[in-house]
């Protein structure tokens, strides 16, 4: 497909970096298949003799299990197997803990199937496998569980003080604690002319990809091999994990992430209980077993995020310069902490963001609650950090009678201070590799036109209408360690295949990585094939999360392409009798520099390099392998590898920092409490942009989720821990009408820490959204004296704020 005419976002000063393919909005190679309905998601795959699983899930939030009666289920029609924890043998133990850390003093992960205790409604207790999904669900409803109910810990604010325990041996429900500090925050607060203090909170939300989770596993008894299709973001990690847990060698296990209908963090775990139980069941039965999650299950058992409460303080001078920031927060990790401290650690390191703050102290207490476990959801703790910082900025502005954007401007890290070492350190130093925060900020102000808006706002107020504006700046750590890899080879067709260990859930890696490969090697885009999601092809790597795939896998692809180029040049140099440095590869043709007329296609070169390749052609006839040529070549270059094949790796050594500024205008109806988004502005910096349309798409998607999180989405439980929001009727995702006009602009500060100059961008759209909307609503309702300190803002919350301020 040739580059299609979508113009890239309007560039800031200077041209964005471009190659023949990099920098262009090339149409996605993924699209044709998906548009035809030829996508292949886990539930689409039906294998012969396949069975279906349904899980029995806890109906109680905190309870002892007195009995599990599976007899009626076992003898129900079409049932092949009913598993409880007692049937799992050595797997009846806590699932792995990702990212162990000394900060985690009381780590807890769940067992695949609970036998003694349950800790959240939705936790897996038994697995029923039957001929059809319908029969499996029928039988699952026949499993009887007797509970001894215990009081549930639901409210984050009091979870640390109540006597009831989520885990019997974890006092105070404290899973762990984080502390980091720079400078001397106590001195800063003592000496400051002004301080302000805020209590801020964000409630739980969930990523809600439109495709729920799913696992299909097939154990081949004859070959003794396990094949798994999993709607996961990390097939390689699942493969390694399953091999270990099921005591198989890695080559006995294949894991594929086929087409995945959205992930956003929810689909990366090692493991969800279902991801282990289903392969186990398949192994028991010697028949394929499929589990397709339904939406209710997703709401009660897929990982969630966003619950935090902060006590934050800021110290500043009369010019609005911030001298110190302190925050002490509670982080709701749910009933278990399989993902370690990643989310609260991100919050801790992202608060000071774009601001030049030299005195900062953060303390986090990670608390268990009787709710589904928490693991990253797009943003992964950064949205909370930005919310805290930007609410503090507004408090400073309010106290001094300044515009918040004035306060921001005075505190931005100057452009000449990059790379900027914040001095923070959690697992790795927090060092901003590049950025131009001042430029981004100015661009955002240009689009927002605060002075013009203030006039509009005043006019509207006279008409009894309440308009408001808000802004938010952020940094985004991208590309978590350690590395990704790529395996590349030139086929005799002349096509070049690049295999990577990451996977897509809509990000278009097969397109963007192919753009990088095509430019790095000098071939046509249509001659590059990128394959991902299949852990049998590349095992060195982890998967897609933390905005890392393009950055790490992209550079690995470029490295592999570079290595291929070296091999191709070496071979061509012999053919053309020149130095390898004189060889040029351009548009898939290979020639000596300065003499393009005498060239050979990469395809022919690959054929020549491996004469055993066939079918070939000679004098118009299809011919078999040219053994004579191969023997001749073997004599001349006995140790030469015949095929062009290479590997590439890339790890950045630290995370790379994207950044941006968002702004928005809203109208609030004080009668109904309804907030209408008028305009949303994004100025972002993700370094070099590979495909502008795809980057835009990622940002627009993030913005929509951000607006949802700010105004529409809230997960709730009653005091006994019963979830109240378990369908799309209760938990409202944004629809087309909820998204206003979005203005996109960008700044490009290439990262010096990778050859491509890229940074991740997958989470950029969502990170500051709650902060921006909070300020805009507060600004709109300033005549009422409303202060926003908690998100989301449902109409009922807005009305309550107005009432309480009055």
């Amino acid at each position: 497909m040739s580059p299609h005419p979508n113009p890239p976002p309007q560039a800031g000063e200077g041209e964005p970096s471009r190659g023949r393919h990099v920098g262009h909005s090339i149409g996605r190679v993924e699209d044709e298949r998906l548009l035809r309905g030829n996508g292949r998601y886990v539930d689409d795959i039906d294998l012969p003799r396949q069975l279906h699983a349904a899980f029995v899930r806890s109906q109680q939030a905190n309870a002892r299990i007195k009995a599990i009666n599976i007899e009626r289920a076992r003898s129900a029609p079409g049932v092949a197997l009913v598993l409880t924890g007692h049937d799992l043998g050595h797997l009846n133990k806590p699932l792995p803990l990702l990212g162990p850390n000394p900060a985690l003093t009381h780590p807890k992960t769940q067992r695949p199937l609970a036998t003694e205790r349950v800790h959240y409604v939705g936790q897996t207790i038994a697995c029923v496998v039957a001929e059809t999904r319908y029969l499996a669900e029928d039988a699952a409803s026949l499993v009887e569980v007797e509970y001894e109910t215990l009081p549930a810990v639901v409210d984050l604010g009091t979870a640390g003080q109540v006597s009831q325990r989520v885990h019997d041996d974890v006092p105070g429900n404290v899973a762990g604690a984080i502390h980091d500090a720079i400078g001397d925050v106590d001195a800063a607060f003592k000496e400051a002319a002004y301080t302000e203090k805020l209590r801020l909170s964000i409630e739980r939300s969930t990523a809600s990809p439109i495709e729920p989770r799913g696992v299909l596993a097939d154990w081949d008894r004859k070959l003794r091999r396990l094949q798994v299709w999993d709607s996961t973001q990390a097939p390689v990690a699942i493969k390694h994990g399953l091999a270990k847990m099921l005591a198989l060698s890695q080559e006995q296990v294949d894991v594929t992430a086929p087409d995945v209908g959205g992930g956003f963090g929810t689909k990366i775990m090692l493991f969800y209980p279902e991801e282990l139980v289903i392969p186990f069941a398949a192994k028991q039965l010697g028949r394929p077993v499929k589990w397709s999650e339904d939406r209710w299950e997703h709401f009660v058992s897929a990982n969630q995020e966003r619950g935090q409460i902060h006590d934050a303080e800021v110290a500043f001078d009369r010019e609005g310069r911030i001298l110190g920031v302190r925050t002490s927060f509670l982080h709701d990790t749910g009933a278990f902490i399989p993902y370690g401290i990643a989310v609260p650690a991100n919050t801790s390191t992202h608060v000071i963001g774009q601001y030049r703050i030299k005195n900062y102290d953060v303390r986090a207490t990670i608390l268990y609650t009787n709710k589904p476990p928490v693991s990253p959801y797009r943003g992964a703790g950064r949205p909370h950090a930005v919310f805290v910082m930007e609410r503090l900025i507004c408090a400073v502005a309010r106290r001094l009678g300044m515009e918040p954007h004035e306060v921001r401007r005075r505190n931005l890290i100057p452009t000449n201070e990059f790379p900027y070492d914040t001095g923070l350190h959690i697992d790795a130093p927090v060092r901003y590799d590049s950025g131009d925060y001042v430029k981004g900020f100015e661009l955002a102000l240009k689009h927002l036109d605060p002075a013009g808006f203030r006039k509009q706002q005043e006019k509207a107020r006279k008409e009894g209408r309440y308009l408001g504006m808000g802004m938010g700046t952020y940094v985004e750590a991208t590309g978590p360690a350690p590395y990704e890899s790529c395996r590349a080879k030139v086929e005799e067709s002349g096509r070049v295949i690049f295999d990577v260990a990451v996977a897509s859930q809509g990000q278009g890696h097969q397109t963007t990585l192919a753009q990088i490969a095509a430019d790095a090697l000098g071939v046509e885009f249509d001659h590059v094939v990128v394959r991902e999601g299949d852990a049998s092809r590349v095992e060195d790597g982890i998967g897609t999360f933390g905005s890392r795939s393009l950055l790490l896998a992209g550079n690995a692809v470029a490295a592999a392409a570079g290595e291929l180029k070296t091999q191709i040049a070496a071979y061509a140099a012999e053919l053309f009798e020149c130095a390898p440095g004189d060889i040029v590869i351009q548009r898939g043709r290979v020639h000596v520099a300065g003499n393009p007329a005498r060239d050979v296609s990469l395809r022919d070169l690959a054929m020549m390099a491996n004469p055993i390749g066939y079918p070939g052609e000679r004098d118009g006839m299809v011919v078999g392998p040219a053994y004579g040529d191969a023997l001749k070549r073997a004599k001349e270059r006995p140790a030469a590898a015949p095929m062009f094949e290479a590997r590439g790796y890339f790890g950045a050594g630290q995370q790379l920092y994207g950044s941006g500024v968002h702004a928005a205008t809203v109208e609030v109806d004080p009668e109904t409490g309804r907030v209408r988004m008028l305009k949303y502005i994004v100025v972002h910096d993700c370094g070099v942009i590979i495909n502008p349309a795809i980057v835009e798409g990622q940002i627009l998607g993030g913005v929509a989720q951000g607006i949802g999180g700010a105004l529409l989405e809230r997960l709730t439980w009653d005091e006994s821990g019963q979830p109240q929001t378990t369908s799309f009727m209760d938990f409202r995702l944004p629809t087309v009408d909820d998204i206003p006009e979005v203005v996109l602009d960008h700044v490009e500060t290439p990262s010096p820490l990778n050859p491509l100059g890229v940074k991740g961008t997958g989470e950029a759209g969502i990170i500051p959204a709650s902060a921006v909307v909070a300020e805009a609503v507060e600004d709109a309702l300033s005549p009422f004296g409303v202060h926003v300190s908690a998100m989301p803002l449902f109409p009922s919350d807005v009305k309550r704020l107005i009432r309480e301020a009055g």
Binding site: D31, E32, G37, D43, G78, D259, V703, A704
Partner: protein
């Protein structure tokens, strides 16, 4: 193992232009029959309670949520799924092309349902104004795109 499954019902219908007989239990959802009995997996299931719209197909020309219908309700009906928009060997339809050109899909899971709703709209009301396009799209949840490019694709297809 006892088998007290209710007797299968024959459902004669026309799917993507082909006369078809489904043999299904009364409680089999239309979405499951299309996907697993006929192998037409282009229609997706996102919620099974009729909100997300991913399961949208055309039944006698009208867009319906196939997850909220039993297959037996399709007796005598004419059904079109996403696979009918560009049959094997045929180029993409103008609507599908517009989605590609406007980057109107990312993970592709919600896409077939949206394509079917828009197909119905284009057939019934090719000159539909923007607010009617929005009304049609309002019944579809997409978590990836933020909808902007979907709207652009719909407009591009309808205004061309």
């Amino acid at each position: 193992m006892t088998n007290s499954t209710p007797a299968a019902v024959d459902v004669r219908c026309r799917v993507n232009g082909v006369d078809t007989t489904l043999s299904v239990e009364p409680r089999t959802l239309l979405s499951d029959a299309l996907r697993h009995d006929l192998g037409l997996t282009g229609t997706h299931v996102g919620c099974e309670h009729g909100v997300c719209g991913a399961c949208t197909v055309l039944l006698d020309g009208k867009s319906v949520r196939s997850c909220l219908m039993f297959a037996v309700e399709a007796q005598g009906a004419e059904i079109s799924t996403v696979e009918s928009l560009a049959p094997e060997g045929q180029p993409l339809s103008p609507l599908q092309k517009a989605f590609h050109e406007q980057h109107g899909l990312q993970c592709g899971f919600c896409t077939p349902g949206i394509l079917m709703s828009l197909t119905a709209l284009i057939r019934e009301h090719p000159d539909a104004p923007d607010d009617e396009i929005a009304l049609t799209l309002d019944g579809h949840l997409c978590r990836c795109t933020g909808y902007k490019n979907i709207v652009k694709a719909a407009r591009a297809a309808m205004r061309a």
